[in-house]
Symmetry: C2
Subunit: 281 residues, 2 copies
């Protein structure tokens, strides 16, 4: 497995791969890999000749009050996991090469970033779309794979890929969950064992919503109230950022449950902010 830390070297490596007719899949990550990431790498290996996994904790997508400095990192363990999952190349650029002095270009996906996470984290998706556009240009992949756990991110990046005419097949892969249902996330490592148990409240609330939707309850306020009750009963100190019901593609808020309705939520537990989502119908 090849480890590349220079942008130029990564570009020339990909140019050679393309010239040799090898198809390339890109799996962008922020490292501290879990089974969710590894499922993307394995899927990538089925779709393309070569899998490039990037590891870059992108500083620009964290606000000043967010967890950039304490975000978990473990390169050695990541490399072992990627190798085992069948990765071919790991791209680990340096922040000063990605954002040199005088860097000033940003990719703005407008409508889709002005809601949900984009509302709570202004500038977040501007930074995410920009770094992914850069990774696309550095690696010129045939396929790019993102996880459904960060589903607004996936929808935003899919729109960018299409709007900017990247000749890239955009794949969104299912969320991988722990045994109790908690969506895998590098941020789960912030919890103590006791706190971790309560973190299941997001999943439990989503399950409740899904059951209610399947029982033809279409009143979203009733569903939201029940979800809040589920969360508070499991984790009394939880603070709910939002519980939203939107169209899966357009992210537009829905007034009632209907096909392609996805429920997404963001909750703060013990100073850790988690997100999750589930398609209801």
């Amino acid at each position: 497995m090849k480890i590349i830390r220079s942008v130029r070297q990564m570009q020339s490596h990909c140019r050679i791969l393309a010239a040799n007719g090898k198809s390339i899949a890109l799996v962008p990550t922020m490292g501290f890999l879990h089974e969710g990431h590894l499922s993307l790498i394995r899927k990538a290996g089925k779709l393309c000749d070569r899998v490039i996994t990037s590891i870059f904790v992108n500083p620009t997508q964290f606000a000043a009050n967010e967890d950039f400095s304490r975000y978990p990192r473990d390169e050695k363990s990541d490399l072992a996991k990627i190798k085992k999952a069948g990765g071919d190349v790991v791209f680990i650029p340096k922040a000063k090469d990605i954002y040199p002095d005088n860097f000033q270009t940003f990719v703005d996906v407008q409508k889709l970033t002005r809601t949900l996470e984009g509302n709570v984290r202004p500038g977040h998706f501007l930074a995410v779309a920009t770094i992914v556009a850069k990774l696309f240009n550095i690696t010129r992949p045939d396929v790019a794979i993102f996880g459904m756990k960060d589903y607004q991110q996936a929808i935003v990046l899919k729109q960018m890929t299409s709007d900017l005419n990247y000749p890239i097949r955009f794949v969104i892969a299912p969320t991988v969950r722990e045994k109790d249902g908690l969506a895998m996330s590098s941020r789960n490592s912030y919890f103590t064992t006791e706190q971790r148990k309560e973190a299941v409240c997001l999943y439990r609330a989503l399950r409740r919503a899904k059951v209610m939707a399947s029982e033809n309850i279409s009143d979203l306020n009733a569903i939201r109230t029940d979800m809040e009750r589920v969360i508070k009963s499991i984790c009394p100190t939880a603070e709910i950022d939002y519980i939203a019901f939107t169209d899966f593609e357009s992210l537009e808020p829905l007034m009632t449950i209907r096909k392609n309705c996805i429920c997404s939520l963001a909750v703060r537990l013990f100073n850790v902010r988690l997100i999750d989502n589930m398609k209801l119908l």
Copy 2:
């Protein structure tokens, strides 16, 4: 010579070229080609195996009060000229394919677009950077060539190319001028023969600035005043948008003449807005 009107077809054509080891040069234009454009196409032919010329009058880069609808178009004549200049492929996309419903992604080069033309034409460079990023993704060129006449545009796009890590060699080619010195521009076709004579005033003013700079006159106000006098003496009805002295790379305003000083100006003559520039030292 191949004419391609579909984005998808253009992408697959370029994919095949790359797979066959052919290098690609892209020359983006808005059509109504003159000797300036043709010099870019000829230069491109020297640098790469295949030259793609795009023709697209990009609606988003014109403000409501600007000349989008009357902008000159002559596809048949353009095709003949490109063929003669050695072009291999002409890409003529449709606006509805470039900007489908729900299009919402824009590329913002921040600092460099907030001055000169960007000041007078808000949103202009956002649209220019976006369409060029799209053309880069559609054609994945090895080399892209732009003319020095639109020099801020060239500097902005060069920054975008570097900031977003496009693996593209960015070439800026010299302005081609008419016999009297007027910079070639599709917009020169708006003038009557009499008006056309007065349009030389931009070039004459720039020459005056260059002569003064070579005489070690470093007071920019003195030079600007003389330039205004030159313009008004040739075309009494001319309205000057700006005469600016900036650093060639950073576009930062200069307080005195020094190395890498470029003078650029925008003038309205007979309801036509022209720009031009000249390096003074």
